[in-house]
């Protein structure tokens, strides 16, 4: 029988893994929508509004899934991890509070106007609503990553009677790992949304949708991906160096280094064996890990044996890290290859389109793998050096947790399938929509400010 600790960890992992899939899309998809809306406002070309209209529906669906799975998260702290709030509630509480106050209400309220208000408000208000929803999702990411980064690299506090008290809020918010993690996650979101847009648009093209909209959306997304991926590699590298400085045990697990040594090779593949504290079947490039992490061929990397009993489970961190890197490389190749094709000619062959369809959810895999690296990599601590995960868990009956875990897992399973099916159904339905008619394009004449004048009088009815 599993104990309440393992069950609670599994439940938290299930909840956060399901939840993160949706915000990681919406954070960047909001900015994509804002860009589409701006292009429409400037050119007056209806194709941009077509793209907006399709993707705003995807946004609405994704956002709804993010909201409801997020509410579950806010209950988890109290239900399963009471020790967390008892020990660090003085810091975690206000940070979560700021997320609700500055982000949640903003995005939820303006989402209504963004989705249903186009004919009720002047165009510039609708554009502003789109902007504010994106600001909201990004602010939400800001606060939650502040808290997460503080749990990784806690500073700005003192212990009084075993309880954490804040001493310097600026230090807490801009803790050492925060800037790196924030940038890394935002770029990950940009890539996730870009590959989603490219993949679904490619699917529409394959289903015979020869309108302008899907091709233009695909092109935009592929160029964005091609631009973001090198930035992400740089950000990821800097994030790794920061982790090496502050959480050496995590890096040792990521690299599979057991003994502290100089000139450590980079393991492309290996099977870490935690029992015998060694690796099997190593495929390695000599001295490269040292070079990457210390910028010296003979730089020293501390091994896991220096942290015995205090380091994370090696296998999970080691493999997740390689999955993340592998998917990242695949993204780089795909985005650059397709961009090169697009720059030379304005069509794509079928097999390339299928390749993009295959990469639709590559962002999810990379994000989850990266998240596991950083979260499992923090174990056995919940807050590095301050609170162990095992000290925070609830003491309720394991049966209750098992019940809720099964409940959540079954709901999440059904919802994930429904979400994927609905996405592709929406794409197939969009194929049947007619192409933009010449009459619609008259609007273009008044550009760039056509849209500001248009719709300026809303057709709201008077309340009796």
């Amino acid at each position: 029988m599993l104990d309440v600790f393992m069950l609670s960890r599994m439940q938290f992992a299930a909840n956060i893994s399901f939840h993160i899939l949706f915000p990681t899309i919406t954070i960047a998809l909001g900015w994509f929508l804002f860009y589409f809306k701006l292009r429409f406002n400037l050119s007056g070309h209806p194709v941009w509004m077509r793209i907006y209209r399709f993707w705003v529906k995807v946004f609405a669906l994704t956002f709804a899934l993010g909201v409801v799975s997020g509410i579950t998260m806010s209950f988890q702290f109290g239900t399963n991890w009471p020790g967390f709030m008892e020990k660090v509630g003085n810091i975690a509480g206000p940070l979560l509070g700021y997320e609700v106050l500055t982000a949640f209400f903003l995005e939820a309220t303006f989402l209504g106007i963004m989705l249903f208000g186009f004919n009720r408000v002047p165009n510039w208000v609708h554009t502003t609503a789109t902007l504010l929803v994106s600001v909201g999702t990004t602010l939400s990411a800001f606060w939650i990553l502040v808290l997460n980064s503080w749990m990784q690299t806690p500073v700005g506090f003192e212990l009084r009677d075993g309880v954490v008290h804040a001493t310097d809020w600026m230090a807490i918010i801009f803790n050492p790992s925060f800037p790196y993690r924030f940038v890394h996650v935002l770029l990950a979101s940009g890539l996730t949304a870009a590959f989603l847009i490219a993949g679904i648009s490619a699917y529409r093209l394959l289903r015979g949708d020869n309108k302008q909209a899907p091709f233009l959306a695909l092109k935009t997304a592929v160029y964005v991906a091609a631009t973001l991926i090198p930035l992400q590699i740089i950000a990821g590298d800097l994030h790794g160096l920061n982790t090496f400085e502050h959480q050496p045990a995590k890096v040792a697990a990521m690299e599979g280094v057991w003994e502290t040594k100089k000139g450590v090779p980079l393991l492309l593949f290996a099977i870490p064996d935690e029992e015998n504290r060694t690796n099997h079947f190593e495929i390695a490039i000599p001295k490269l890990a040292s070079l990457i992490l210390t910028h010296e061929l003979d730089g020293e990397i501390k091994g896991l044996n220096d942290f015995e009993g205090e380091h994370p489970p090696v296998g999970a961190v080691f493999y997740s890290f390689r999955i993340m890197l592998g998917v990242g490389m695949l993204m780089l190749l795909t985005a650059w290859f397709v961009s090169a094709k697009l720059l030379r000619k304005q069509t794509l062959q079928k097999n390339i389109l299928w390749g993009l369809v295959g990469m639709t959810f590559s962002g999810w895999i990379a994000t989850l793998a990266g998240w596991y690296v950083t979260e499992i990599g923090r174990q056995p601590y919940l807050v590095s050096g301050v609170l162990k995960t095992s000290e925070a868990v609830t003491d309720i009956a394991p049966g209750n947790v098992l019940f809720s875990l099964i409940l959540y897992l079954s709901v999440y399973g059904v919802l994930l399938i429904a979400y994927l099916r609905t996405l592709f159904l929406m794409a197939r339905r969009a194929v049947e929509i007619e192409e933009i008619q010449p009459a619609e394009r008259k609007t273009q004449k008044n550009s760039p400010f056509y849209s500001m004048a248009h719709h300026s009088i809303n057709n709201r009815e008077v309340n009796p």
Binding site: A64, V68, E461, V462
Partner: protein, 332 residues
């Protein structure tokens, strides 16, 4: 500078405010879900359209309420959620189901739409009933006697019915013609059940809950204790007579049922709040014992004081944008 001793009171007030705002706002949209007719597609489309732009923000008040409990009174948050582990998990599943059903139903094939309507209705009922059940458990101080469970079940029914009542009030306000007539009939029915529910709680609660009994008969609460039920029943009576005559000529007064129910919610909630103050966990933990460190409360308070006016302003703006009778929802 606010003295440390006032901070727990301020946060208890903020938390009470977000709970009542949540009950009213998400109450009406949960109520619309509870009432969703599965036999009339046009009606259900219209009903869901009436809450479409709002439900997301409405639900955020729950996150704020739970968040404030977590931030300001973490030990109470731990005790309460531990006691309510199973019902809160069930409530969350209800909220998840209705939240996603709202979006899925608009995007799937016609055959699946009916199924998502059922999910929306079931999710709304599950969420409302579990909230009522949890309220009952809270009032009974998390006892596990059969009395307490019976009371919690009564409370589950009461809250579900109250949400349906405010939901029908919302529909009378936002719809016309045959759907409005239907909503008036729903309001009459749920109004009667709410009357019985409030009466039952007023009688049962002091009888089985010594803490509440003592509070209700001691000054100064005895004055509130007298005023709240009288005012509530007066409102219910007024609602009853208005509903009998609705709809008025030119749809005048279509807002009355909603706002009468709103005041009823405020009255019942303040009755509860005064019954338990200063306890945050009845009989166990006061707000002063459970409060977080003052420096943390101050940090979030300054933010809240700055941000809340903005939240209220843009919430009002959103209601103004979607003012008037509901039209079909078009995604744009």
């Amino acid at each position: 500078m606010i003295p440390d001793t006032y901070l727990p009171i301020i946060f208890a007030g903020l938390m009470a405010l977000s709970v009542i705002v949540y009950a009213i706002l998400d109450g009406y949209d949960l109520g619309v879900g509870i009432l969703l007719p599965l036999d009339n597609d046009q009606h259900s489309d219209k009903m869901i359209a009436s809450i479409g732009p709002f439900w997301d923000a409405n639900e955020t008040w729950l996150v704020l309420a739970v968040g404030l409990l977590l931030i300001a009174f973490p030990s109470a948050h731990n005790v309460i959620l531990k006691e309510l582990y199973i019902p809160s998990a069930i409530m969350l599943v209800g909220l998840i189901l209705r939240g996603v059903a709202f979006d899925f139903r608009a995007k799937v094939a016609q055959t699946d739409k009916h199924r998502w309507n059922q999910v929306f209705k079931a999710g709304s009922i599950i969420a409302s009933a579990s909230q009522g059940y949890m309220l009952g458990c809270f009032v009974m101080g998390f006892e596990s006697s059969s009395y307490a469970i019976a009371f919690s079940l009564l409370s589950a029914l009461g809250v579900t019915c109250a949400y349906a009542l405010i939901g029908s009030g919302w529909l009378i306000l936002k719809t016309t013609e045959d759907l409005q007539l239907r909503a008036i009939a729903w309001a009459k029915l749920t109004g009667k059940i709410s009357f019985i529910g409030i009466l039952a709680v007023c009688i049962v609660n002091p009888l089985i809950n010594p803490l509440v009994y003592e509070r209700w008969i001691s000054a100064p609460f005895i004055y509130f204790a007298a005023i709240i039920p009288i005012a509530s029943f007066a409102l219910l009576l007024a609602g009853h007579f208005i509903l009998k005559r609705l709809p008025f000529e030119g749809d005048k007064g279509c807002w009355l049922p909603f706002f009468i129910t709103l005041f009823l919610f405020v009255l019942c909630f303040s009755g509860l709040a005064f019954s338990f103050y200063p306890y945050v966990v009845p009989g166990q933990l006061t707000i002063f014992e459970a409060a977080s460190a003052p420096e943390s409360l101050r940090f979030i308070l300054y933010g809240a004081v700055f941000v809340l006016p903005f939240i209220l302003a843009y919430t009002m703006f959103s209601y103004r944008v979607f003012w008037g009778k509901t039209k079909d929802l078009n995604y744009y």
